[in-house]
Each structure stands twice: as C-alpha cells, then as structure tokens.
C-alpha cells in the first residue's frame, strides 16, 4: 500500500514540478504575485523610499515656456528644438518624512519637477543644462518672510499675502542645490537627483533641527512659487537676461528687458501664467507680482494636461484673452438688448459679436430679424448674412450645392458693399466680411482673390487714416497671406512688415512675434522662388 502511495506522490510531484513551474513562470510570473500582494493583500512598498506619500500634484500646461507669452529661446543650436527645455509640466510635493531610510537625511521633504524635456547638451555635472529652478516657499502661520527676491535677477516680486520664508535654488551646474532663508542666508544643501527617463528633477530638502523646517508635518499648509529661468554662468544670480530679439546666447521676445520677469515658465495657480508674468509696469519700474500655489495634503490643484493640444499656447492665451473680453461684452450687450429691445444698433452689435464668437445660429436669427428694419444698417446686415451663408456652404457635402450657396453669398456680399456708405465705419466691417470670404474660397473656381486683395488694401488705407491699429495689423497679416497665395512674396514681406511695425508701436507683442515668423516664412519662400527661377 505504502509503495503505491509513494508512486502516486512521485507522479504528483513530477506533474507539479515539470508542469506547474514552467507554466507559472511563463504565464503568470511575478506579475500575478505582485498584483495579488498589491490588490488583495493591499501591501505596498513603503513610500518613504520614493520620497514620502504624495501631498499634492500640480499640472502646468505644456508649451508655456514663453514667459509672458512671447519669450523665445536663444538661437544657439544646443537649444534645438527651441522649446520644452524650460517647460515645467508637473510639480509634485510629497509629505515630509521624519524617519527616512536609505537616505542621507533622516528628516526630509521631497519635491519633484517634471519637464517637457530634460536634456544635457552642455554636459552640466548634475545632468541637465538649462533650467534654473527657484522654489520660494511660504509657510502658513510662520512670521517674517519677504515679498522681494533674496537675490536680484529674477525681476519679479511676491504676493504680499504670502511672503516667502525659504528659497530652494537648483541648477544643473552644481551637484547639490541650496536652501536659503528669506534674508538670503544659506541654510543647507539640497539633494538633487535626475530621473532621466521621466524628465524629472527630484529635490530633497532637509528638515532637520538646524533648518527651521523641523515643525513641518503632513498637515502643514505652505505656498509655493515655482519659477523656471534660463541658467547663465555669468548672469545676475545665474538668471540669463531676455532681450527683445533672441541672439545666439540670449532669449528674445521680452519688450522690457530691464523689467520683464526672467522666468520662462511659472507654475501657474488659477490665473494664467501670461497674465501674472506680464503684469509689470516698466514706467514705474514695478515688477510682476507672482501668485503662489497652495500646498496642502490632498488639495493639489490639477490643471488638465494639454499635451495633445496642437494650438500654440501663446496664441491660445491670446485667443482666450480675446474671448474673455468678448464674453464680458456679450453679457453686457444681452443685458442691454433685454432692457431696450427696440434698439437696432445694440442688436446689430450683439449679432456681430455672436458671429465673431462662432454662434452662427444666434447671429443668423438676429440678422434675419434686422433685415428690412429701416433703422438698421442694411449693408452691415447683408454683409454678415453673406458671410454666414458662405460658412453654411462649408458644412455641405455636395460640391455642386456648395458652389451654388457660395455664389449666392458672393452676390449678397457684393450687394452689401454696393449699399455701404464709403468711408463709414460699417464699410470697414462690410469690406472685412467680403475680403475674408473672398480670400477663403478657391481662387481657381471663383477667381475672387484679386477682389479680396483690393478690399484689404482699401481696408488698410481706411484703418491707417482712422488710426485703427488693431484692424491695420490684422489686415496687413491677411493681405500678406493673400500675396503669398498669389506668389508675390516680396509684397507679402512688406505687408507683414507694415503690420509688425504697427504692432510694435501698439505694444502688441503677440503680433510682433507672430508677424516676425510670417516674415521669415515669406522671405524663405521668396528665396526658394528665386533659387527655382535661377
């Protein structure tokens, strides 16, 4: 009997070893055991090793390493592709650790900064070349602190509601970072670790007894100003100056190099980074006032990632600002229409605003109401109806139908122009509507590009005479675009240039930069054209 048991056991063993072991390793392996431990047994690796429990995570928009919205990188090839190196995308704060393990400090506080890209083309010793990170920490309930930077160079000041008490500075040209107090006195070294695969910089701040940070707990509330500048070995406190135009070694896009903040990216709180950083006053030599993010366990502000958003952030912010202005106008116009429903001018203004904001249905309803109203400016109504008609064509799938609708809209627009009073303000709107439609439709089908050019030229003249800078800039941009389409690159450059000069005079940095890029593009096209002809 025992012998039989022995044979059964042996067979069982053979089966177990020769089948279960390989199957285990091939099919399940560590994953299943690890998952079982994590999910079922709820076991995890002590967070002390990874720097402590998470306290707050702040996402910062991608591609906003443009300072006030217009900053550009230096032209040196090391900065290629001229974006991302100074782009902070995430700021992680961990809870203070009071019993560290496998660590240089027993008590420490870890912050992690994730960048869009963290490269080291200049072989800096710490493993990254460009970012100059300054984290100003304001501790809630702690007396003292300051609203001025301990070290000049940053060209920014701090929110008086949250004067900062500690400053952490980190850059790639020193292995360790430094911790300073609000008097600018060195307190301690700060450990800096690079996690290349995640484009992450880990900053470990000691909170030992001699630092004054020993009272920090999981529940402590603090306010953080996180700034990213461009490192310079010789710059004032290592801040690289930013000038109006970029050169090989200096960034550009700063209309006020002596006053504009030397910050390429700022961890934005609820307000926009561009709004915060551009709020400086060069006349009064007043720096932009930075607003901090509030750090409290589990209350991190989460700004959604927009990594897949292809729209340029500067433009987006410009558009957002514009839209915000329009929204404010819209609210007041709606209110006025409710109060005085018979006022056709206000109604027309509201319909125009709806049109600009893409609310086509609402615009169409009001314009249809205004058609035939004797008090209303019929040329303006017709112009917008024509433009709305053309927009409708874009949504049609059938090409024949499209052509018919466009032709109808062209006729309406022509009628609008013929009815418009020359030199009047409505003439500008009417011509703008027609030019926009005419330049948008295929020239080889409708042959209206020349008319669009003529309209834009007229508009340019009118706006110049009337001192309408914004329209002049926009029209110059559109006219340049039309010239490029016609292959007249030299004229296009001139038109862009006109717009750029006006933008510069108007202090419109966004268009200065935008038109600069368009000039470069047109010049390149012109050169290509010359080479081809040669």
């Amino acid at each position: 009997m025992l012998q039989k048991i022995r044979i059964i056991i042996m067979f069982a063993l053979a089966g177990m070893v020769f089948i279960s072991v390989p199957v285990y390793f091939i099919n399940f392996g560590s994953q299943s055991v690890g998952n079982f431990m994590t999910r079922v047994l709820k076991i995890r690796v002590d967070p002390v090793y990874s720097g402590g429990e998470l306290m707050a995570i702040f996402n910062d928009p991608y591609d906003d390493d443009k300072g006030i919205g217009t900053y550009t990188y230096p032209d040196a090839k090391e900065y290629s592709p001229y974006r991302g190196h100074l782009d902070l995308v995430k700021y992680i704060v961990r809870k203070p650790v009071h019993e560290g393990a496998w660590s240089e400090f027993n008590k420490f506080w870890v912050m992690e900064l994730v960048f869009n890209t963290l490269e080291n083309p200049l072989n800096a010793p710490a493993g990254f070349s460009f970012p100059l990170i300054n984290i100003y920490i304001s501790l809630d309930g702690k007396n003292g602190g300051t609203t001025r930077s301990a070290f000049p160079g940053i060209q920014a000041s701090f929110d008086s509601a949250h004067p900062w008490h500690y400053l952490v500075t980190v850059h790639g040209w020193q292995i360790d970072g430094s911790l300073y107090n609000s008097e600018g006195k060195y307190v301690s070294k700060v450990l800096v670790d690079i996690i290349k695969k995640d484009d992450k910089i880990r900053v470990t701040i000691p909170i030992e007894n001699n630092t004054g940070l020993e009272t920090l707990t999981d529940k402590s509330i603090s306010y953080h100003y996180v700034t990213v500048g461009n490192f310079s070995l010789t710059g004032e406190n290592h801040f690289k100056p930013i000038f109006l135009s970029a050169t090989t070694h200096f960034g550009g896009g700063n209309p006020e190099p002596e006053c504009g903040p030397r910050i390429y990216d700022y961890l934005q709180p609820s307000e926009s980074q561009y709004d915060i950083l551009s709020a400086y006053n060069p006349e009064k030599r007043k720096y932009a006032v930075l607003r901090p993010v509030k750090v409290i366990a589990g209350e991190g502000l989460h700004i959604p990632d927009n990594k897949n958003d292809t729209m340029d952030s500067a433009e987006k912010t410009y558009q957002v600002k514009k839209r915000k202005r329009k929204m404010d106008s819209l609210k007041s116009l709606i209110k006025m229409v409710e109060e005085v429903p018979e006022d056709v001018d206000i109604k027309t203004e509201l319909a125009c605003l709806y049109f600009e904001m893409g609310e086509d249905e609402k615009a169409l309803t009001i314009f249809n109401q205004l058609t035939g109203e004797s008090d209303s400016d019929q040329s303006l109504v017709l112009a917008y109806l024509g433009a709305l008609h053309a927009k409708k064509a874009a949504s049609k799938g059938n090409n024949v139908e499209k052509i018919i609708i466009v032709k109808e809209s062209l006729a309406i627009l022509d009628r609008a122009v013929s009815q418009a009073e020359p030199g009047s303000l409505s003439m500008i709107h009417v011509l703008m509507c027609r030019a926009n439609v005419f330049r948008s439709i295929p020239d080889d089908v409708f042959g209206k590009l020349d008319t669009a050019v003529a309209d834009l030229k007229t508009l340019k003249k009118i706006s110049k005479i009337n001192g309408l800078k914004e329209i002049y800039i926009n029209v110059s941009d559109l006219l340049g675009d039309c010239y490029i389409r016609k292959g007249w690159h030299k004229k296009a450059v001139d038109s862009f240039h006109d717009g750029q000069i006006m933008a510069f005079a108007a202090g419109d940095e966004y268009h200065v930069l935008k038109l600069k890029n368009r000039i470069l593009f047109a010049e390149k096209q012109y050169l290509d054209h010359l080479i081809m002809n040669l």
């Binding site: 025992l2 012998q3 048991i5 022995r6 044979i7 056991i9 042996m10 063993l13 053979a14 177990m16 070893v17 020769f18 072991v21 390989p22 285990y24 390793f25 091939i26 399940f28 392996g29 560590s30 994953q31 299943s32 055991v33 690890g34 998952n35 079982f36 431990m37 994590t38 047994l41 709820k42 076991i43 995890r44 690796v45 002590d46 967070p47 002390v48 090793y49 990874s50 720097g51 019993e99 393990a101 496998w102 660590s103 240089e104 870890v110 450990l191 670790d193 690079i194 996690i195 880990r202 470990t204």
Partner: protein
C-alpha cells in the same frame, strides 16, 4: 563506454543505467530548452543558448549516470555564481553607467529584490502592509512579486535546497571552500556556531521591524561587494561599505578557504536560517540508514553547512539546516544516506517493480526502468536543478555573451 567510466567514475550503488539516464536527460533537456531556446535571440545568442542547454544536460546526465551529486552540482553552482556577477554588474553598467545604487535608483524603486530580504520584510508587511525595501512590486525580473513567487514554490518543494541549487551567491563561498586540499581550521568543534545564523536572523528581523528598513541589506550583506552597493556619499555609507567588504573577505573568501566549509551560508546568512524552518514542510528529506551507518563521520566533516552531527546521525536525519547539497550522500562509503520522500518509509533501492511476478520479459524490462526512474533522488535532483537552471538561465547566457564580447570587442558592455 569504458573510456567514459574511466573519466567519470560511477557510484555503483546509485547509478542509473545508460538508457534510463539518457531518457531522463532528454526529458530534462526538453524542459530546459523551453526556457533557453524559445526566447527570441540573434544567431550568436542562439548558439550560446544551445551550448548551455547541452552543457546543463550533460551535467544532469552525469549526475544520473554516475550517481555523484555534489561534484556536478558544484560545477553548475559555482559557475552560476561567477557568471551571475558578471552579468549583473554588466547589466548595472549598461543601465545605470555605474555599479552603485544611487538615490535616484532608490527613489524609483529600482533596487533588485533579492531573496535574502524576504525574512526581514514579512513582519512589517503583515503588521503595517508595507514592504520595507525600495523595489518594485511586480514587473521586473527582480521584483518583489517574482522573488516571493519563487520562494513560495521552494517552501513546498526543495526547502533549504535553495541554498545549494538556486542561490546566486552561494556558489562563491562554495567555490572558495574548494581551494586547497586540507582543512586548516577545524571549525566543526565550535558546535554552537551553527546557531549563529538563527541569531543573525532574529537580530535582523527584529531590527528591521524596529527601524522599518532592511537592516541586513543596509549594513551586513557581504554580497554588496560583488553586486551593487550604496553610493558612498557620507561617513555612514562609507562605514557600511567597509563592513560589506570586510564581511565578504572574511566569510566568503578567508574562512571558506581555511575551513573548507561554506561559512557565509552556514554561519551567517539569515535567509538560510529562515529557509531552514521550511525544510520540514518540503517533500524531500535526507535520511540516514542507522543500520548501515558505521560512524565513520565522513559525512559530518564533509558537510559544508554544519548540518550533520553525531547526534543527528543517531537520530537518522540531518539538522534542519541541511541544504540537500548531496555532499554526505557522495561521501558515505556505506551508502547509508539518501534522499527520501516525506511520509514514505525510507528504503534503499526499493524493488517494488522487480518484486512482482512478471511473466513476460518486456514487462520485466519496463518495470526495471520504472524502478530506476521513480527514485526520490531523481525527483529531487530534477526539481532542484530545474529551479537553478530557470533562475540562472538569463544570467548564464548574458554573461557568456559579455565574455565573448570582451574577447572580440574589448568591452563587456552590450
């Protein structure tokens, strides 16, 4: 065949017939091939893998055919340890550019989880649901999940056989214990010494629980010297490094040479002590036939891990620290020691199949072969060796490729 027998003398009492050995070897080679040859590899790597399978199969065949376990196991075990270090260090340089464990590596939980940590992590894991070691829970070859999974399998199969068949460090002190022919220091007299690993185990488990960190890895592991060590950034890490090197030189090099014993494994390793407790739960045991034993004590003096004493001989079994290395079985001139299956009475050369009255010759033949195959020794060797081969598979191939790369291109890095 005579030539082969001259080169590889046969232990007549345990040897298998040529056909049985060949059959078992082919069966074993099939499983080994599963790990070595099914993995996608380039031509050079495929050749290395094929050579390795052949080499492993040859060792297995020799174990089966000659009946000598320790001799051929040692060849595998020592080679495994040496090649493991080459592969591991090479991999560290490939991945990190250095051998030390940086702060960034720790914070990213990139520390390979080794089996020695397991006893230190169990109590905190049970009480506070946290693993006090900076490794990944799953996903990599040296994650907590993979190592715990392998360890759980050994609890029921080979127990402390891990220390002689699977451990990637053990081969180092075994290798050094084979240097020199004479014992220069008879450490067997220090009977209480064998309790030392249990003291180390108790200390590191308690201390690790109290400080919530794997104390042995942080301060006491001699193998940090040959694998990865904490970056020397301050006095504390400097002292730790001095301790690592000091213990390595003492326990892994000097003492094994002097005593011809595996002193690190037998006197210091907390995992070995921990695994000893599971020797009772495994299916395999080492049993001594008291009737055959002539008290020559060759097994006692030959045991590398202090697992045999006069007292244990009287009881007819080894101490719980036995690593199933097969040394005593090879050394016993009377053939009084062998493996057995737990719960099954220990009999030498059971003739179950032969006892039957088989009317036909072929039935007798098959019964004889089955009798040869169904032997506890065959199962233990197959199980333990398969474990070792699986664990070592990646390292052996990688190390050989690195060595060939060194010869041909002057660098061990991939």
């Amino acid at each position: 065949m005579d030539m082969l027998l001259k080169i590889f003398p046969v232990n007549q009492r345990f040897s298998k017939s040529f056909m049985t050995s060949l059959f078992l070897t082919l069966l074993f080679a099939c499983f080994v091939s599963f790990f070595y040859l099914t993995v996608t590899a380039d031509r050079q790597e495929s050749i290395v893998r094929l050579c390795l399978v052949t080499g492993i199969a040859l060792l297995y065949f020799l174990m089966m055919k000659t009946g000598y376990i320790k001799r051929y196991r040692s060849i595998f075990f020592i080679s495994f340890s040496v090649l493991f270090i080459i592969s591991f260090v090479g991999h560290l340089y490939d991945a990190r550019g250095h051998m030390y464990l940086s702060r960034a590596n720790i914070s990213q939980l990139e520390t390979p989880f080794c089996h020695i940590v397991i006893p230190m992590t169990i109590v905190p894991a049970a009480l506070s649901k946290t693993i006090i070691f900076p490794a990944k829970m799953s996903g990599s070859y040296a994650s907590i999940g993979s190592m715990v999974g392998i360890w759980l399998l050994t609890i029921f199969t080979i127990g402390r056989g891990w220390c002689s068949w699977v451990c990637f460090y053990g081969g180092l002190d075994e290798g050094f214990s084979k240097i020199g022919k004479k014992k220069r220091w008879n450490i067997d007299r220090l009977k209480k010494m064998r309790l030392l690993p249990f003291a180390v185990l108790s200390f590191v488990v308690l201390a690790s629980f109290l400080v919530q960190s794997a104390v042995y890895c942080e301060w006491l592991c001699p193998f940090k010297t040959t694998t990865e060590y904490a970056q020397i950034v301050d006095f504390k890490s400097f002292i730790a490094t001095v301790i690592f090197i000091g213990l390595f030189v003492t326990l892994v090099i000097v003492l094994p040479i002097l005593t011809r014993k595996r002193t690190q494994c037998g006197l210091f390793c907390p995992f070995g002590a921990f695994q000893s407790f599971f020797n009772k739960s495994t299916l395999y045991r080492v049993q001594i036939d008291k009737n055959k034993c002539k008290d020559c004590l060759k097994c006692v003096s030959g045991c590398p891990t202090f697992s045999l004493t006069k007292k244990s001989l009287e009881k007819g079994k080894t101490e719980i620290t036995c690593t199933r290395c097969g040394s005593c079985i090879d050394n016993c001139p009377e053939g009084a020691i062998d493996y057995k299956i737990a719960g099954v009475p220990f009999t030498q050369k059971d003739d179950y199949f032969n006892e039957k009255d088989h009317s036909k010759k072929w039935k007798q033949y098959i019964a004889g072969k089955l009798n040869e195959i169904f032997d506890p020794r065959v199962f233990l060797i197959s199980t333990a060796f398969l474990f070792g081969v699986i664990i070592s598979s990646r390292f052996l191939t990688d190390a050989i490729l690195r060595i060939s790369n060194l010869i041909m291109n002057g660098t061990m890095l991939h």
